[in-house]
């Protein structure tokens, strides 16, 4: 034996400690289990969509791949031939990390990527991963889409400015009331709370140019993106996307859905636990007492 001294410890101490330690471990384990059983929250899913918002960039193939520990949870997906102005439907994905990558249209999957971005999807959250900017400085950006509930009686809308012919964009109502001033190309505004209803919006490059009109109806409780693009004739156009729908009438609090007819089994459970715990502790103390007497 290499450590003879360690073996001369009197056996009474370790035995008592051993019993106590194991009992403690079991009790602690039981306590942790009780704690862990109280709250409950699922892992859930989030949403990811992909967009090509670079006016002078050619079509691309976009890949959505799970990464790291998330790999087994999701089958990779490819969007082929995505061109300027295309915004995919939201994809439901398990929470976790994803790599979004772009390759030239038709390029084999094993060829180097043009651009990549990582998006970490949280439960219930939504993301738009977009290729933005002019082709010379094309970048993949992750927009967090704040789909939280609008204020009561309001809709939410934001502007995604992807028009290359309007370095700065002004949006106003037909009577000239400004809605948004100087929205820079390749930026996105925060969502704004607006009154629901039918809107007519005038879009024009800041300081000059001809206004384009877009009409849209926004419903209470819903969330929208107004995507501003170049059209084929060098003019502004806008598309209104429904990012999410919530409905206009949201109840308060929870629901009273129980009469209590099944509650009687609860006291029984508590009694069973109490009896078993008391028995365990009693047995433990009796045994320890006998052990100590035996050795004294």
């Amino acid at each position: 034996m290499t450590h003879p001294h360690s073996e001369r410890v009197s056996p009474t101490v370790p035995i008592g400690r051993r019993v106590a330690a194991i009992a403690t471990a079991v009790l602690v384990g039981a306590g942790l289990s009780l704690l862990a059983a109280a709250p409950a929250q699922g892992a859930g899913v989030g949403y990811v969509r992909l967009a090509h918002l670079s006016p002078d960039s050619p079509e691309v193939d976009v890949y959505l791949d799970p990464t790291g520990p998330n790999k087994p949870n999701f089958k990779s997906k490819v969007f082929g031939g995505v061109g300027y102005g295309v915004v995919s439907a939201y994809q439901i994905v398990p929470v976790g990390s994803y790599l979004v990558s772009m390759r030239p249209k038709g390029a084999p999957p094993n060829t180097p990527t043009t651009l990549t971005a990582t998006v970490n999807v949280l439960a219930g959250k939504a993301y738009t991963v977009a290729g933005v900017g002019k082709n010379v400085d094309l970048g993949l950006r992750v927009l967090v889409d704040d789909l939280s509930r609008p204020q009561s009686g309001k809709a939410k809308v934001r502007i995604i400015q992807a028009s290359g012919i309007a370095p700065l964009l002004d949006i106003s109502l037909p009577n000239g009331t400004p809605i948004a001033v100087g929205v820079a190309f390749a930026t996105t505004t925060a969502y704004q709370q607006v009154a629901p209803g039918t809107w007519s919006l005038q879009l024009k490059p800041a300081g000059s140019g001809t206004a384009s009109t877009v009409n849209t109806t926004l419903d209470s409780g819903d969330v929208y993106s107004l995507i501003v693009l170049d059209d084929a004739n060098g003019r502004l156009k806008a598309e209104v996307r429904v990012d999410a729908r919530g409905g206009s009438s949201v109840p308060v609090e929870g629901v009273g859905t129980g009469g209590g007819g099944l509650r009687s089994s609860n006291p029984l459970a508590m009694i069973g636990i109490g009896v078993a715990m008391a028995a365990a502790l009693g047995l433990l103390s009796v045994r320890l007492f006998r052990l100590s007497r035996r050795r004294s």
Binding site: P39, A43, A126, V144, V181, T187, S249, G258, A269
Partner: protein
Amino acid sequence: MNDASSPVAAVGVARVPAIGVAAVDPANLAVPEPAPMSEPAPMLQPAPMSTSRAARVRRPPRLQRQIELTVFAITGLLVLALGTLVAVGGAGERWSLPNAGWVEPCVHGACLEVGMAAAPGGPTRVQIPSIKVDSLLEPLHRDANGVLQAPVAFLRAGWYAEGVVPGDPGPAVIAGHVDSLDGPAVFAKLHELRAGDTVVVVRGSEPVTFQVTATGRYPKNQFPTDQVYGPTPGAELRLITCGGAFDEARGSYHDNVVVYAVAVSD
């Protein structure tokens, strides 16, 4: 629009001052990945005495056996106690943690697309095969205080008729009782649902299939309204019933059990 004649007056946004704020925030790219699962912590290990046991021959074999029996008995009783807690909790009380994982969402090789069109008309039936629920649906409304009213019948679920129709984009809500005054009701086993379970809502003659993604239990005074009723891109469903301890004074359960599901196209 509530008043189409005055859209301008209704504008709540004089300006959008946040313009130019580069919402395209590269910081989003830097969200750290969750740390890899570490090795499970070793269970409390007995002192390294196995190799040295021969040296400590003073312990009588009978004593040794008694110790082992004692530990065995204590462990057994505690396991029994825990088992009682988990298994005999009663319908309202019984609740174990949902699956942490998620069932492969790419059904039949195709990933879920959101925003599928649903058949017109209100829902008439909800079916949850894994807990043997097949119930007609009654329309539910809010009371004067804005609180969602539970179904009239204990054995029949209801859908929130002022909200999203199941199958349409957004969070549709179906509620049902966990028990009556006498015994189990339609959603007595709702808490047993786990991620991946299937829920079918019949709308007209068309079934809309949902897949459970998460479950939760919340005190009613901390009901997660935003999470349950908040806007969603695709068609989603929430199933709600009661759970937790029964408040004898108020005559109601303390918690609400919520099951979250998303529509799947198959």
